[in-house]
Amino acid sequence: MLSLSAVSAGYGSFQVLFDVSLEVPRGEAVGVIGSNGAGKTTLMRVISGLIPLRAGTMTLEGLPLAGLPAHRIVEQGIAHVPEHRRLFPRLTVEENLRIGAFIPRARRRFAAQLDRVYALFPRLKERRQQPAGTLSGGEQQMCAIGRALMSDPKLLLLDEPSAGLAPLVVRQVFELIRRIRGEGLTVLIVEQNVQQVLDVVDRAYLLEVGAIRLAGTADELKGNRFIRQSYMGL
């Protein structure tokens, strides 16, 4: 569904991504793992149009995405859950969700989408009148994912969903991701938490200093000696 080929990007004179190619097939969950500074967040920002692509091509179901501004990318069906969630803290949970359905296509189906998100995350319904900034870390992640789902995406980008969360909550968040997968949504996750992410994705890529170093199914990577030593501490 999403296909990147030889993508390069960066900030100013500083290049972060070098010839990154990856495929996210429909209905699959794909992970991109790597340490801090490997370029994972940059990759997400490139896909969602927040920073421009320097070279290479990027397509969603065969349609080129390069050069589209962020809001047009959302209209194409890609929703981005940014790192550290980036909720609108002073707006209530429901206002955050409503704003998630900002694009016209989603606005028309607002009520149905809201029901779907509340069914998926009943906790959000309980807290719907509360300012998003007062939620716990796990609930905020729920709200951020819910906000992204409100745009009725084909592809969900999750940037570091475990960042800044307690280990117990991290497990809950991955449980949520499993639940979303059950909905048949295609998902691309970038994560440092290699162990956990390999348990929920079908396939994964290893990103190191801006380049793809390894690729394979989740089971292959779990068994890979280099990954076990460098990223799982085994």
Partner: protein
């Protein structure tokens, strides 16, 4: 919200009967307050979302000068001149706003760019002395009582015009409050990247509110010029006017419909009161006290006067309910 609407209506009704009550000077003050309240409200349309412009003096100046110049040199009626002034103000807003929003010039940097803008308009008006009269000011040709020239020696006419302008400004505010764009703007003001990532066209939303704010400000400037029948670069453009707009709107409260109006009421009656009180005996004292009061307002009431009052009322209400 409906309480706000009701209080606005009550204020409007009060305002409608006021002019019959006082002397001409009183009416003159009231007209000024209404015109500036509209301008401050126009500024707060964007100011309340954290887009702090120090350049609205530019729009007042453009709005005031364009119809006056067209009238004097080409005999063009202000009915055409005022829209022309608004159009030019919109053009200026786009020329400044587009690159700023595109290049993510926000916060202090945006304030600085707009600060420069207001000074550019002032200096242009001063430099084009042959046309605008420079620092000596500019007087539209008098036409007596004329709808065509939009000139009325009787103040009651301008009182009604100013009242309508003010109601228009409040309606625009309410209109924005009711739409999905308010939420989009709030989202942008909290986090531009996150807003873009959920499909909000940040550039377009910011440009739209800026254009609306500039147009309404220019209309206010135009009415002010028509009423005063004398324009001076210092009094309708430049940093002084821009600062006056920012301070008064913030002092009154930018998060409430009537905040900027209260700001206008306060600052104009304060300026006039101090001016009358001190007269020529103690030059500068009036301005000093004015400045000190504004500083205190902003430090101790960051929500503005109306915001602080509303909060105090909200804090008392539950207690009263509990006592019942």
């Amino acid at each position: 919200m409906s309480r706000l609407g009701a209080s606005a209506f009550a204020l409007a009704a009060l305002a409608a009967v006021l002019p019959a009550a006082g002397p001409a000077y009183f009416l003159h003050l009231l007209i000024q307050i209404l015109i500036w309240a509209s301008v401050y409200t126009a500024w707060a349309l964007m100011g309340r979302f954290g887009f702090v412009s120090f350049g609205h003096g530019a729009f007042v100046g453009v709005g005031a000068y364009v119809p006056a110049l067209l009238w004097n040199y080409f005999g063009l009626t202000p009915w055409v001149g005022i829209p022309a002034g608004i159009a030019l103000a919109i053009l200026v807003a786009v020329v400044i706003g587009y690159p700023c929003f595109r290049l993510r010039v926000v916060g202090h940097y945006f304030a600085l760019v707009t600060l420069a803008l207001s000074q550019v308009v002032l200096l242009t008006l001063v430099a084009a002395r042959e046309i605008t009269g420079g620092s000596l000011g500019f007087t539209p040709k008098a036409a007596g009582h004329s709808w065509y020239a939009l000139q009325f020696p009787e103040k009651t006419y301008f009182y009604v015009i100013a009242l309508m302008l003010w109601l228009l400004a409040l309606s625009v505010w309410r209109w924005i409050d009711g739409g999905i764009n308010r939420e989009a703007l709030e989202a942008i003001s909290e986090d531009e990247d996150a807003a873009a990532a959920i499909g909000i066209d940040v550039l377009r939303e910011k440009l739209r509110i800026t254009v609306l704010s500039a147009a309404l400000t220019a209309l206010g400037g135009a009415i002010y010029g028509q009423y005063m029948m004398y324009l001076n670069p210092e009094s309708v453009s430049g940093i002084a006017v821009s600062l006056q707009i920012v301070f008064a709107a913030i002092a009154g409260g930018v998060y409430s419909l009537l905040g900027p109006t209260v700001g206008a009421l306060l600052t104009i009656s304060l300026t006039e009161g101090l001016r009358v009180w001190f007269g020529v005996t103690f030059i500068g004292a009036a301005n000093t006290i004015y400045g000190a009061l504004l500083v205190l307002c902003i430090i101790f009431m960051p929500q503005g006067i109306v915001g602080t009052l509303r909060r105090a009322m909200a804090a008392r209400a539950p207690k009263a309910a509990a006592a019942d």
